[in-house]
């Protein structure tokens, strides 16, 4: 391992003379009492691929947003190609030829590829948009980048990998030579990731500087030249990728060894709790779910892997009762619930941790004690003959907060006063308290840091060990492989494979997830 030393050097150069593309000096950024970046010093050499790693909340995105002008540092300065610059807007960053691909794509779905690429820097004659010129330039850029994109195609019709290409084209169109990629692999399957890395390497060979925010250490070591680790808003160090190991970087990230081990069931799985047969959901003429078959047993975690948009959302909504399927059947504990209301399914023991807890599991302006019974408000003792019992509701909230160690100022505080991890804990606690038999957890650790993630995982495992049937939907293959007893892959509205959790590998899952293989579909 070779940490670069911090001896003073000529502005814009490393001590060894290498020119710097970006240099952050003593950057500090505070949010309402939290320090997101604490005197960060960060140097990126021209033409390198520099990975920025750290846990959720370590301050990576904040630092990059300041480099891209979306936020301003409270202290410190940023030098671009050796010159101190006040980057007070993305507009300024673009002028400095800095570009950023955000984790959540920033594309206008209703616009064409060309319109998306040129927006903000349009070819024009005195205010009149020159769309032909835009199409021509974009097509040319795409070819130079080794990709075939129709500039006139609407972005909403493109696949995720192609949309990412559009994002990169946006930067190239603006002649950016410092490219910031915020977790670009999070939305891709392993095969697409390899294509992206090839593109990154070719850009780097063309002299572009790439800053790349990442989670997965394997990926980082595969593509990056150097790696900077952030923890709690501070820089822990910068290492050369060729001279380090995954374990070393992981320890720098969390300050302790990380354990991502498989946790498989102690008890054999029992009788079927959830049986789904030939489930179909139509959206207009398109089949979002095209006859999905699925069985989840007691004392089992069934992990459902897949690229988002392959029918997971529709499956979950149909299981919970939020939409009516156009065909097929759903049985819960042996009872047909295909047409049952949400309330009836909940009474039969279904509980649900939605993908977006802010939007679907909580009412943020309402108090914790009100949120603590959401979904169970019709049960005794929380209400009786239509009248609420606030005393019982408060008692329940106090119990939940204690049992799950939710950090909350008071149970009378509004839910938005809690951090994301604590909100998720409260949701878990509430759903577990409802006396469930089947738990449907959609992306339960999304947006959580490692500590909270571990907590959620432990809860899922102990639920499984207590005899619950758990359906875990996740885009995170590490999570699926760590937890699931059985793994299903959903592709294009069908379960195309079912594998034993202890046998499945990431690459194998990737093949099924992209539709390259589909030979292990479970029978109806």
């Amino acid at each position: 391992m070779a940490r670069t030393d911090d001896a003073p050097a000529e502005a814009g150069r490393e001590p060894d003379g290498a020119p710097l593309a970006v240099e952050c000096r003593g950057i500090t950024r505070r949010y309402a009492g939290v320090i997101a970046n604490d005197h960060v010093d960060f140097k990126v050499r021209e033409g390198e691929i520099h990975a920025l790693v750290g846990e959720n909340g370590a301050g990576k995105s904040t630092l990059m947003k300041m480099v891209y002008g979306m936020e301003q540092p409270d202290e410190g300065e940023i030098l671009v190609r050796g010159k101190p610059e006040k980057i007070d807007s993305p507009r300024k960053a673009i002028a400095l030829r800095i570009g950023m691909v955000h984790q959540h794509f920033m594309l206008v779905d209703a616009f064409t590829v060309a319109e998306n690429v040129v927006l903000g820097a349009e070819p024009a004659n005195g205010g009149r948009l020159d769309l032909d010129e835009a199409n021509r330039e974009v097509a040319e850029l795409a070819r130079g980048f080794g990709t075939n994109l129709d500039p006139a195609a609407r972005v909403e019709t493109l696949a995720v990998g192609q949309q990412q290409r559009v994002e990169i084209l946006k930067l190239l169109y603006r002649r950016a030579d410092i490219l910031i990629l915020d977790e670009p692999t999070a939305v891709l399957v392993p095969q697409e990731v390899e294509e992206l890395f090839q593109a990154m390497r070719s850009l780097s060979q063309q002299g572009k500087t790439i800053i790349f925010i990442a989670h997965s250490l394997e990926e980082v070591l595969a593509v990056a030249d150097r790696i900077t680790v952030l923890r709690d808003g501070k820089v822990i160090g910068t290492v050369v990728a060729a001279d380090t190991t995954e374990e070393e970087v992981a320890e720098m990230m969390v300050g302790r060894p990380v354990l991502l081990e498989r946790v498989h069931g102690q008890t054999p799985s029992g009788e079927p709790m959830l049986e789904v047969e030939g489930l179909r959901v139509l959206a207009g003429a398109r089949e979002q779910l095209a006859g999905a078959n699925l069985t989840v047993r007691r004392s089992e975690i069934y992990g459902l892997a897949g690229i988002e948009g392959n029918g997971q959302a529709e499956l979950v909504e149909a299981l919970v009762g939020l939409l009516h399927p156009d065909g097929g059947s759903i049985r819960l504990g042996g009872k047909d619930v295909t047409r049952a209301t949400v309330r009836d399914r909940r009474e039969l023991g279904l509980c649900y941790i939605p993908e977006d807890r802010h939007a679907r599991a909580m009412v943020l302006p309402m108090t914790l004690w009100e949120n603590s019974v959401l979904g169970q408000q019709e049960r005794r003792p929380f209400s009786r003959r239509g009248l609420l019992n606030p005393k019982a509701m408060r008692q329940r909230a106090t119990d939940l907060v204690r049992a799950f160690r939710v950090k909350a100022p008071s149970i009378a505080a509004p839910a938005y006063a809690l951090s994301g991890g604590n909100q998720q804990k409260l949701v878990l606690a509430r759903e577990f308290a409802s006396g469930p038999k089947l738990l449907i957890a959609a992306y339960p650790t999304r947006g959580l840091d490692i500590g909270a993630t571990e907590f959620v995982w432990k809860q899922l495992v102990s639920a499984r060990d207590a005899g619950l049937a758990v359906l875990l939907i996740s885009a995170n293959l590490e999570e699926i492989l760590a937890l699931a007893d059985r793994v299903g892959v959903i592709y294009d509205g069908r379960i195309t494979a079912e594998l034993d959790g202890s046998q499945a590998t990431m690459n194998e899952l990737g093949l099924y997830m992209t539709g390259a293989r589909s030979d292990r579909e479970p029978a109806a």
């Binding site: 949010y31 909340g57 408000q377 019709e378 006063a417 840091d449 500590g451």
Partner: protein, 395 residues
């Protein structure tokens, strides 16, 4: 940036924190202060704007003093001022509750206007066509008013739930259709043909005495007020206060109210919690219409005694302001209704006693609405920011 909880240090589990189950009194008082700050700012700005308008238009400081003294002398200090304020507040409270019920479910009922007009019409039909003793006739007439309002809210509610049509546009369209219906009925089938006098009005025959509502003046005078006998306040004022209390109870202490709030604040969380949003929207809109149907009854059963063509009197629009000002709480609506009722009273005083157009109070009402929404938004942000900060400091 999402601020996430830090992972606990390995091996050292944090001690279980004692969790306060209630907010302390000082905290509550400061919250209440913040809540009252917004209306206070809003009232102040509207007074300033009102004064500026008078100064700009009249160019005379004397007028300003006239208006101010009239607003006090005639608006409040006058012998019967409060009777007038209570009386006018009655339809405002009903209409305000109607708007607030819809607001609570995340809906905008701009059709209160048409709903109470139709409610008054159906009440007038029952009041004129039926004959029964008061104990039967009056409640039936009032129920008929509610049924009329409910019926008029039914179409926008159905369009919303089954066709997704935005209720703001559809309820306003229903207001215009209500006007057409009134015009047709009051100039045709329901017109009182026995009227004497040179100009026959487009109105119904008088409602039976058994369906009329009595004056509340004797009661007020028996508890120490000194209202003129003809002062316009009826027992429907009491019904309005009861309605506000029931509304507040339902919203805060019933499961229906709980589910209504969940739906209104975060509709996407409602369905997963087993709340059927379509059914709730339907109920809320119909309930809103039914309560709206009460707003026209005081004019019909207390004062005029017959249904006239001019029954679309703007209560529904004022009610939106009242509900916003009162933050959809029962007591807030009553307070807001009294305030706007006072502005009305002051308005007639200004018209009688000064050279300033009395419509200056309408401007003040409008300014209150615009500033109150901005002020509440700013206060909300300030509170949210403070609470977030406190949460982080604690964490």
């Amino acid at each position: 940036m999402k601020v996430e909880e830090r992972p606990p240090a390995p091996g050292a589990e944090p001690p279980t924190e004692a969790v306060a189950s209630r907010v302390g009194w000082t905290e509550r008082a400061s919250q209440l202060g913040l809540q009252l700050l917004a209306p206070a700012i809003s009232l102040l700005i509207s007074a300033v704007v009102g004064a500026l308008v008078i100064l700009i238009v009249q160019r005379n400081v004397g007028d300003l003093a006239d208006v101010a003294s009239t607003m006090w002398d005639y608006g409040l200090a006058n012998r019967s001022a409060f009777a007038f304020i209570f009386g006018r507040a009655t339809p405002f409270i009903f209409a305000g509750i109607a708007v607030a019920i819809a607001f609570k479910a995340g809906l905008f009922n701009i059709g209160v206007e048409g709903q109470y007009a139709i409610g008054a019409l159906t009440a007038a039909i029952v009041g004129t066509k039926l004959s029964a003793p008061t104990v039967i006739h009056l409640p039936l007439t009032i129920l008929a008013g509610m049924a009329g309002g409910l019926a008029w809210a039914l179409i926008p509610a159905l369009l919303k739930v089954y066709r997704g049509a935005h209720e703001v546009i559809s309820t306003i369209m229903m207001n215009y259709v209500a006007n057409g219906l009134l015009l047709y009925l009051l100039s045709g089938p329901l017109k009182d043909t026995t009227q004497v006098g040179a100009i026959a009005q487009q109105r119904t025959v008088p409602v039976e005495d058994t369906a009329r509502v009595g004056s509340m003046v004797p009661f007020f005078n028996s508890i120490g007020f000194n209202f003129r006998g003809s002062s316009p306040v009826t027992w429907l004022f009491l019904l309005a206060l009861v309605a506000a209390a029931v509304y507040a109870f339902v919203v805060r202490r019933t499961r229906f109210g709980f589910e209504l709030r969940v739906l209104g604040i975060n509709p996407r969380a409602a369905e997963p919690a087993g709340i059927r949003s379509n059914a709730m929207m339907m109920k809320a809109m119909l309930l809103s219409g039914a309560v709206a149907g009460l707003a026209g009854l005081q004019d019909l059963l207390g004062f005029d005694g017959y249904m006239k063509l001019d029954y679309v009197r703007g209560y529904g629009f004022t009610a939106i302001a009242i509900a916003l000002l009162g933050r959809n709480t029962g007591i807030g609506i009553v307070a807001g209704a009294l305030l706007f009722s006072y502005l009305d009273r002051a308005s007639s005083g200004i018209g009688l006693n000064t050279g300033v157009p009395k419509e200056v109070t309408i401007i003040m009402g409008g300014v209150i609405i615009l500033t109150i929404v901005v002020a509440y938004e700013l206060v909300r942000r300030a509170t949210a920011r403070r609470q977030l900060k406190e949460a982080h400091e604690r964490a």
